[in-house]
Symmetry: D2
Subunit: 245 residues, 4 copies
């Protein structure tokens, strides 16, 4: 148990309570669907946290016990306090993994980590999407086919205003004519970040096996490594210095 | 004149007014030394802006007329208003270049664009530094030798908490035993960012020809390209969509 | 004239002589269409070279006078001698630009520079392709729209077995359901390499203004920079070394 | 046993037989020192292969059973047959890991995978080297300090003519005044490649715990992932295509 990857599944959890169409798809909330998939893995353990909990459920204690944080939000990004964003950022720098899902592209924490607007094109037409693997040796696509489809999704299209990913793993095709960098890996500080495009709230995308597989693979990829200790600040020289006048 | 690169040289301009040792080195202020070098170029024109001017000298009008912004700050990073940082960030996303100098690594705007702490090791011992070119075909090192030295500098050492540069151009050697990624290129939005390590306020580093050459080359590299128009938001499909139930 | 970018447009020039359908589209040869576009620019000068010329038209003298080499080949990649490939590789390392077009993905020189198979999926169905700009600030897309279409093209689809591009500029959408990294930038040695997907021999792709614009922009981007001198081999220390026993 | 990472430790094994100074340091051969370190791990199993064995010890059967190949060579790079290099390249593309050690920078297989000359500066003065971690969250530096030293090493200095690493993990400092990108990660095809600078044959570098730790970490990092199946060649469309005349 002690060696399991500790995942905190964060969800805004508003659409599910206020939009009947979303309630119908995710009566238990998006977070509980994702957490269930994680709990089914022998090497992971999940907890959930939501916007309306005190400190959005992300207390110092919870963050300290989180190896990987997944993030879904949409209508209330602005209600996440800057204080919590500051703490999550520092935890990522210190090694915590972050998996940003779908409309989380506009979350404060993703924009904070990217330094850009994270803006994009979008369309809600219920069209399908096809995700192509462009890096077939990457652990995030372990066990997946060369491409897979989501039957109904919101379209996200380029230009996606992100820094060029450290590794681009997936590119999506949409019937309406667009493409999108839909699986993007970053390293920031000691932490790893993965952005994954699918997951509109009106479709049961997170119940789809391929989608769950990518998220589970991403949890393993983003789990903190031991790495090295990091030392900052004023230091003495390691060698004798001779300063020339 | 209309086609010249319009450079705004920003300087905190506090050390020069309060620290006699710095006043002795830069009586005219660091910004005026850099601006003079730029003004000497046929393809550039410079203006300066400093912290204590209204809006730090970075009004909407000034920013709109700036192609490349250079940034030196140290003791008063926190006094730069978030409103100005927001505007500078947006201008970079829209294509303005940013050249961050030395202790500007801890500036609000650089940390904003990087998404990390930008922390590092440091030591003020007056030791020299030797900057090695690791990308000899890069325009930022046009006309420079395979390495060059700064006689007296503050040491900055790894770990430097930045995203891995899109292009790493220079790596520094210090006599005390450290190394540092001292010339780092990034693209963010349509804008280009260059971080350049040398420039401690107590040494006449910005008067050194090689240092000026790197800054001038970086101005040319970071100058906005025409590029393409960027469209965000809700869009209609470009192809006929057939949605399967 | 002396300051113009000297472009050598290389073409296998076999299809045009043996396939009537190709002859009809490019009676003058693909190379001459591209060379004409280059000759129309005030800052460029073009020459052509083809497979069946002595040394494939790439003598030491020609290579020494080439700033940027463009490469189209398809049915006779294996007939390019290794000796010429060796020389072109060295010129790239020394700073010459290389623009690889369409089926040139399987050329000896591109595979040599990439280190991978450069294999991909393909289909000849005359379908259109839509090229999306993912890096809107990049000089290779200067003046282009956010996307542009080629009315009829061979489909190339992922997985494209290349090293992750240093900069990915364009991603293509195909009606048959595929995506492709269709504009890829690399730096190798002091040289710059651009791979550009469109250009099947049975369609007049190289007569299309947007395609010509990308190639012209790529020539400017790939033109050699002065950079720094490169020193290799055995060297004396720059500092006094004290070896501890 | 079946799940262990199968490592083949390749060594030129000439210096050890012909240079008394090297024989004194590595009487058993460099390969056996590295293989012993690997054999001491519960998750790895090692075999060795050397230049003078038939097919250099790298038969089809051996390669098929190799998850990660480590490579040390120096005086006889040219004696490695192109046929074996071809096979090793294909295995890497298919997912095998490759760890290139020290003077292996000039091996046929490393130059093949890089596409560049892999040239550098060097000096044999017995000086120490200090390796700085620039990516402290990377698994290749798991459990290592922020820097570590090799008491006596051959100096390798920049410019190192390699493609910019996909991830730069280590940068070395040398007392004589040079720096070097000494720990470089690449992905090529489905395979992972790590170049690691230390290991001159006249010093017992491979007996040093930190060096062994990096190699063991690199073996785990480079071990093949399942990834996805890769499909190349002519394909049918996945969607109905309407071609416009």
């Amino acid at each position: 148990m002690a060696d399991r990857i500790r995942v905190t599944v964060w969800n805004e959890f508003r659409h599910e309570k206020t939009h009947p169409r979303v309630t119908a798809v995710y009566p238990e909330g998006i977070h509980n669907v994702i957490a269930s998939a994680i709990e089914g893995q022998p090497d992971m353990v999940a907890r959930t946290a939501t916007l309306d909990e005190p400190e959005h459920g992300l207390t110092d204690e919870v963050l300290a016990q989180t190896d990987v944080l997944t993030w879904w939000g949409h209508m209330a990004h602005h209600q996440v306090t800057d204080d919590v964003v500051d703490k999550v950022q520092q935890r990522i720098i210190d090694g915590m993994g972050l998996i940003v899902l779908h409309s989380g592209h506009f979350s404060k924490i993703f924009r904070r980590m990217m330094g850009t607007t994270c803006n994009l094109k979008w369309r809600e037409a219920g069209e399908k999407s096809r995700l192509w693997v462009v890096e077939p040796g990457h652990p995030i696509v372990d066990g997946l086919p060369a491409y897979f489809e989501v039957p109904h999704e919101e379209m996200y299209g380029e230009r996606f205003d992100i820094p060029a990913p450290d590794t681009l793993v997936l590119v999506s095709w949409f019937p309406g004519g667009e493409v999108f960098r839909s699986g993007c890996c970053y390293v920031r500080g000691k932490g790893r970040i993965f952005y994954f495009q699918p997951g509109h709230e009106t479709y049961p995308t997170y119940r789809q096996p391929e989608i769950q597989q990518v998220i589970l693979n991403a949890v393993r990829w983003a789990a903190p490594k031991q790495g090295t200790e990091v030392v900052f600040g004023n230091v003495k020289p390691l060698e004798r210095i001779e300063v020339q006048e």
